[in-house]
């Protein structure tokens, strides 16, 4: 009876259907008994040639792809396969570790990565597959751990509520952390998951991360305080823009015919001496300014010579992002300004801090879908108005080099019918002619009326920015766009203060009397409140004076 029980357990413990039980193999190959890799698999499952013991001396090579079909398929596409490497050269098939191959470094120790710029940064942050593998998933996670008990609302990070934090917003957020959340932790993780089996013959091009963003295309900020939440971040916050050679002809330098060797004439680092060869005047203006002496000392500190766009292609936020790389605390430094963050939605730094520059009020078409404000791109407008459309000629049918306020108004109403009610005219006050003296740090005149008055200088210089195929054009705007619409039905900007009545308005009104009076009064819009209000106040005071005088006369 005990013998029967032993036999029963022996049968149970041996793999079912195995021609030769593994235990029999271990009689000779004892070292494999301790394997943890492929642990639950019988020897003969892979070594299929063995039918009896002792087996033949020469065995067929086990076919890994019988089980690891997909992996082997990916491996076949990679460089290692073509170099003739077999699975067991990286994987300890009978070893202890489970599932993990050899480290890349075990075969490739101390790779110099000589050609890789910013080598230290890249190697510290990235794993091998990030550049050398075909990636399944990759991204950047910035984890912010706030000090205990501290909380931070989402809208502090994503101020405009458009769903992601752009560079300017993220810079301001980092400054806020420095100032108000002492002891916080910010960890950046550049994670890349790919199959290490499919290693590419050539590492990924710089542009895959820095320009086309086929790798590390998304970035997420995870803010952990009492509650934890995530905010999408524009990846260029963490991986700077770096155009590829293919894109260079589209850049300003490229378009003007600057060749690589015009600047890169030797292997030395590019200095201002290179820039000054062409940009002499600007350089000398800048050279003398405090900014050049104390802050950004070389041109490339602010300017990326390989940049795709000219400054005219940048909106206010993108312009702020350039300054906020260093001036991260720009929001807290402007706390004296009422509605601080709102101002930064419509202004750029140099709107105030570059007195020599020409500033303009610029208008552009945007939509407000899902409460996210986005400028209308050319592709979207092309779908409505047909291929290769020039919006300028749609808005202004006379071939003038300008558009009138009313024309923009009519166009928006039409656009709303075609594209939905979310369409509106957005506006910003930005520099349209650059002067390179940024010496003004503390403005002496912190006076709201500089902008918030009908006399504000930018009303004399207004442009409509229209998207064209590869660039934007600035079309001068004539007339008053702001007072065309009493209620902000099309216009989402309102510089409080420009609706006040002025002496000029009153003289013009009196001059138009009596025939043109009603029409002109109507065109004044809300300015009429002031006019009627002041007239009423004067009338009431006069009648009270008359009443009082009469009372005195009759001694009552």
């Amino acid at each position: 009876m005990p013998i029967l029980v032993i036999i029963f357990f022996l049968i149970l413990s041996s793999p079912v259907g195995a021609a030769v039980p593994s235990d029999d193999c271990f009689n000779c190959h004892e070292e494999f008994k301790k394997r943890t890799s492929h642990e639950g698999i019988a020897c003969t499952d892979c070594h299929i040639g063995i039918k009896e013991i002792p087996h033949e001396e020469k065995l067929t090579t086990p076919a890994c792809n019988a089980c690891h079909h997909k992996t082997v398929e990916r491996y076949s596409a990679g460089i290692h396969k073509s170099k003739g490497l077999a699975c067991n050269q990286c994987h300890a098939i009978h070893g202890k570790k489970k599932g993990k191959g050899a480290d890349c470094a075990s075969c490739h120790p101390n790779i110099a990565h000589k050609a890789l710029p910013s080598r230290g940064k890249h190697l510290a942050a990235l794993n091998c597959v990030a550049c050398h593998g075909k990636l399944d998933k990759s991204g950047i996670t910035a984890t912010v751990t706030l000090p205990k008990g501290a909380t931070l609302e989402r809208k502090v990070v994503d101020r405009d509520g458009n769903g992601f934090a752009d560079p300017a917003e993220w810079h301001a957020f980092e400054a806020l952390l420095d100032q108000k959340f002492k002891g916080y932790k910010l960890e950046k993780q550049y994670w890349a998951y790919g199959d290490a089996h499919e290693i590419m013959p050539k590492a990924a091009d710089c542009g895959e991360c820095h320009n086309k963003r086929t790798r590390f295309a998304s970035a997420v900020g995870r803010i952990t305080d009492v509650t934890s939440y995530s905010v999408q971040i524009t990846p260029s916050v963490f991986i700077p823009e770096f155009p590829s050679l293919r894109e260079f002809p589209k850049t300003v330098h490229g378009q003007k015919g600057v060749r690589c060797t015009d600047c890169h004439s030797s292997k030395d680092k590019i200095t201002d001496k290179v820039c000054v060869r062409c940009h002499e005047q600007v350089y000398h203006t800048y050279e003398k300014s405090i900014h050049a002496k104390k802050g950004a000392t070389s041109c490339t500190d602010c300017h990326n010579p390989h940049l795709i766009k000219t400054y005219k292609e940048f909106n206010a936020k993108e312009r702020i992002a350039i300054c906020s790389r260093c001036h991260k605390d720009y929001i807290t430094r402007h706390e004296w300004l009422p509605n601080t963050t709102l101002h930064f939605d419509y202004l750029e730094c140099t709107t105030c801090h570059s007195p020599g520059s020409e500033k303009s009020m610029v208008f552009f078409f945007a939509d407000k879908k899902n409460n996210k404000k986005n400028a209308l791109q050319y592709e979207v407008l092309e779908r409505v108005f047909g291929k290769n459309v020039h919006l300028k000629s749609v808005i202004n049918t006379y071939a003038e080099n300008m558009v009138k306020g009313e024309e923009i108004g009519r166009f928006v109403i039409d656009l709303k019918k075609k594209m939905g009610e979310e369409i509106f005219v957005d506006a910003e006050i930005i520099v349209t002619k650059v002067h390179h003296d940024y010496s003004v740090t503390r403005l002496k005149e912190r006076n709201c009326v500089t902008c918030h008055s009908p006399q504000a200088h930018f009303y004399n210089s207004m442009y409509l920015i229209l998207p064209e195929k590869d660039h934007h054009i600035y079309v001068p705007v004539k007339g008053t766009l702001l007072s065309v619409y009493p209620i902000s039905m099309a216009l989402d900007i309102y510089v409080l203060g420009e609706e006040k009545i002025t002496k000029e308005d009153i003289y013009a009104l009196l001059g138009k009397a009596p025939e043109g009076f009603p029409a002109y009064a109507k065109s004044l819009g809300f300015k009429l409140i002031d006019l009627v209000g002041v007239i009423l106040v004067i009338l009431v005071i006069l009648s009270i004076l008359a009443h009082a005088l009469l009372r005195i006369l009759v001694k009552r």
Binding site: N339, C448, L496, G497, F526, G533
Partner: protein
């Protein structure tokens, strides 16, 4: 002479605090609306705050105004003063014309004021309309639009729903003009007591002295 008790201590204290708030808001408000006033005042050697300071004063005193208004509203509702003094009654209608006529003509002829303030009703129908519209329509409108202005970014959804910041501004300013008109009339009408400062005195000591059996001119 008999003493008629008109204003409780609470209302008297509130009135003068509120008066101070209104004056500050009016001055800074005018300055914000018409920045040219600043230069004018400088030339006349009158001190007014700097523009950016006026912005802050207007904002924070505006919050004080909000609290003051809420206090007043709760007080008149809880104390029953709203029912007693503000609520229009059918009996008011026939006096309405008489009251207006008195102010326009009667006062010069030495006629008697058709209305006598008592503890059971201190406002004549015209006053009910004026104070009612100032305190229950104009002030709330100013307060609410002002609060929305305090953080345009935070209240953006509400403001857009209302019709935009442009309309908000128009409402705030319109209401302010109406308030100013009422204020001017109020300041003049307070001289219309039996003696010129009677009403002002009443707002300080709480009661008004009136000749026995003979209603005073109001």
């Amino acid at each position: 002479m008999k003493k008629i008790f008109l204003h409780t201590l609470t209302i008297r204290i509130w009135h003068w605090i509120n008066a101070l708030i209104v004056i500050v808001l009016m001055i800074t408000g005018i300055q914000l609306r018409m920045p040219g006033v600043e230069e004018f005042a400088r030339n006349m050697a009158i001190w007014i705050p700097e523009y950016s300071m006026a912005v802050l004063i207007h904002k924070y005193i505006g919050y004080a105004m909000t609290l003051s208004f809420i206090f007043w509203l709760v007080y008149i509702l809880v104390s029953g003063s709203f029912r007693t003094h503000y609520f229009p009654r059918p009996a008011d209608i026939p006096i309405l014309g008489k009251q207006a006529l008195y102010y326009l003509v009667g006062v010069f002829q030495g006629s008697e004021n058709p209305f006598t303030p008592t503890e059971k009703g201190k406002f004549n129908p015209l006053q009910k309309i004026a104070y009612g519209s100032v305190m229950l329509v104009i002030t709330p409108l100013i307060v609410v639009t002002g609060i929305l202005f305090s953080d345009i970014f935070f209240f953006r959804d509400v403001i857009d729903w209302l019709g935009g910041v442009r309309l908000l501004d128009a409402l705030h300013v319109l209401a302010s003009y109406l308030f100013l008109l009422n204020l001017i009339v109020h300041l003049y009408m307070c001289t219309m007591g039996h003696h010129i400062f009677d009403h002002v005195k009443a707002m300080i000591v709480g009661f008004e002295e009136m000749p026995e059996e003979s209603p005073s001119k109001h």
